[in-house]
Amino acid sequence: MIDVTLYLAPVTVRLRAPFGAVRQHLEVFYPEALHPGAKARHFIDFDIRITHGAGWRRWVRPQARFLLDHTEPFLPLPASQAAPLFEWGLNWCLASRPLGYLVMHAAVVARDGDAIVMPGSPGAGKSTLCAALTFIDQWRLLSDELAILAPECGSLQPNPRPISLKNDSIDIVARFPGARLGQRYADTRKGTISHAAPPAASRAAAAQQARCRWVIFPRFAPGADPHCEEIGRAEAFARIAEQSFNRDRMGETGFHALCAMLDTARCFEIGYDSTDTALAMVRDITGR
């Protein structure tokens, strides 16, 4: 049984789990969590428990359950997926629990405080491109999954956690320089998945916020002709709003925060059939 406090900018998480696989996951991806330092912060934003399945599901086709406080927001998963369940569940917590942030489904990387936000429907290649920018072009990883925008200052909050990779992208990212992948989990709801550890530099800079300068909608399609097109902010707004978890719940504040983020950003749509092409396009767009 582990009972640890994880200091993950911008939240503090208490995690309790009896699964060895969760412990291993933490050892690989959150090593400092198991060796608590001298920090005396004790406000717990999310109290998470991964528990054994109820009743006979502890023994027969064992399950893992995800609990936030006393609530169980998901159906249980097979016990072998306890570690990915933690990552998915944590994303859900960040997207659902009101913390005053506008949270969008997008990858975010930054350089010198200037960030690229890449919203993406599942399968668009967002995580792979995010990993490429992080490992090949040395952008700083803020998140591969969640753009967390603070309305009052308009800055993006880093949440550098393992990059979640699916199916074919696992082998592609495994070949990137410096990429360190964890265990593979076959037959999940999303196919085979694995996680890539964020670079140490990104983790070390987890307290440094960034400002959105570019919004890029990536679309990977095998055999497609590369294209890169600048799009209007109104269109970008509509498309990001679709990928926002809580803009509606945040009412006017969410609306204005998204407008303000786009006011200082240029927006692009890119289509490509290889990582190299995509990287070249991003270099053109950002000039870096």
Binding site: F43, D69, F74, W92, P98, G251
Partner: protein, 365 residues
């Protein structure tokens, strides 16, 4: 009997200054308890009103919940405008109950509150027309099984819940305030007739302050599920404090309990609010009500509610609370319907439950 965390939550809500003594871990526990009791918004409002500076880690949760509450208030008002549009042609009064009434009338109890379903009360004779107009306006019945449909229509005080097809908002259309099969048979017309109109919503009515209070009490005591029990008790506290601004409020409460045939539950509800929250109720009022009801508050029932009313995170882990809640659940059903119906209903429910796994909401991962 209740945990220190629950006691502290109640204490801070009553006297917000007590929060100033908390360290970060204390705030963490306070916010968690408040959230589990669905009282985080009220906590946020009271902490802010008392001018207390919460540590930033706690403040962002509290501020975000206030914002959510404001947003939900706005949504409820917007839905009520839609209801006004959908039903105005019928020429009937449309009385808002509970959360919707607080939100639309800008009642102090609505501040920081989170809202679930929208509850409305309409004259029973208009029920068919109301349902039809609502369906035209995009509301559909959420209960599809014939048993559930019949359960509501034959025995209950409301139509099966209706869901807006576009927005997913849930609407409960009541024609009285207690199930038709219940021991008590309040005449809802009294509430409808006395309700006051709103300036910009001609069809919409807000119940009189004493009716808001009586309904809130009856709802808490006849509802078998106590997930929001502590929150409901704080609603009751807020309603009676706000109502007592009118000079003849307490005589009106007693009169309304009599007219609506709910003296015993109102007596017990007020007793509970005084017992658990120190709500300011004239002792004579409670005494008169208990005399009229035929006896003092049951000590067993007081003990059951004291044990059961606590934040959900504790209730889940306390055997005493689970037991007390079960007893209250059974009692609520006992009050809701005569024994033979009750037996039939519970048997049906348990068979249905055995057939399918308990559903859990599927989250987005």
């Amino acid at each position: 009997m209740r945990s220190a965390a629950c006691e502290r939550l109640i204490a801070v809500l009553k006297t917000p200054r007590q929060a100033e003594a908390l360290d970060l871990a204390g705030w963490s526990e306070l916010v968690a308890s408040a959230r589990a009791a669905n009282l985080a918004g009220l906590l946020a409002e009271r902490v802010a009103a008392a001018g207390i500076t919460a540590p930033p880690e706690a403040a962002r949760h509290l501020e975000a919940i206030r914002q959510l509450s404001r947003r939900q208030t706005q949504s409820v008002r917007w839905e009520v405008h839609g209801l006004q549009r959908a039903l105005c042609r019928l020429g009937i009064p449309l009385v808002l109950l509970k959360g919707a009434a607080y939100a639309v009338s800008d009642h102090p109890v609505g501040r920081g509150r989170l809202f679930g379903d929208i509850d409305i009360l309409v004259p029973r004779h208009a029920l068919g027309d109301v349902e039809l107009r609502l369906m035209v306006a995009g509301w559909a019945s959420a209960k599809t099984s014939p048993y559930d449909q019949r359960y509501y229509r034959t025995w209950m005080h409301e139509l099966p819940p209706m869901v807006n097809l576009r927005r997913g908002t849930v609407l409960d259309v009541h024609h009285t305030i207690l199930p038709l099969t219940s021991r008590h048979a309040p005449q809802a017309e009294t509430i409808i007739r006395a309700a006051s109109a709103l300036p910009d919503l001609p069809a919409v009515r807000i119940p009189r302050p004493e009716h808001l209070l009586v309904h809130s009490i009856v709802h808490l005591l006849h509802e078998g599920e106590l997930h929001n029990g502590l929150r409901d008790l704080f609603d009751i506290d807020g309603l009676l404090r706000a109502g007592a601004g009118e000079a003849d409020f307490w005589p009106r409460v007693v009169e309304a309990s009599r007219t609506l045939d709910v003296i015993a539950p109102v007596a017990f509800g007020l007793h509970l609010a005084r017992h658990l929250l120190d709500s300011p109720i004239p002792p004579q009022v409670i005494e008169d009500l208990f005399n009229a009801a035929g006896g003092p508050a049951s000590r067993l029932l007081t003990m059951l509610y004291t044990t059961a009313l606590r934040p959900e995170n504790e209730a889940a882990e306390s055997a005493a609370a689970t037991l007390a809640r079960f007893a209250i659940y059974v009692r609520a059903h006992w009050l809701r319907m005569p024994p033979h119906l009750l037996l039939r209903h519970l048997a049906h429910k348990s068979i249905v439950r055995l057939r399918k796994d308990e559903p859990a909401t599927d989250g987005r991962a």
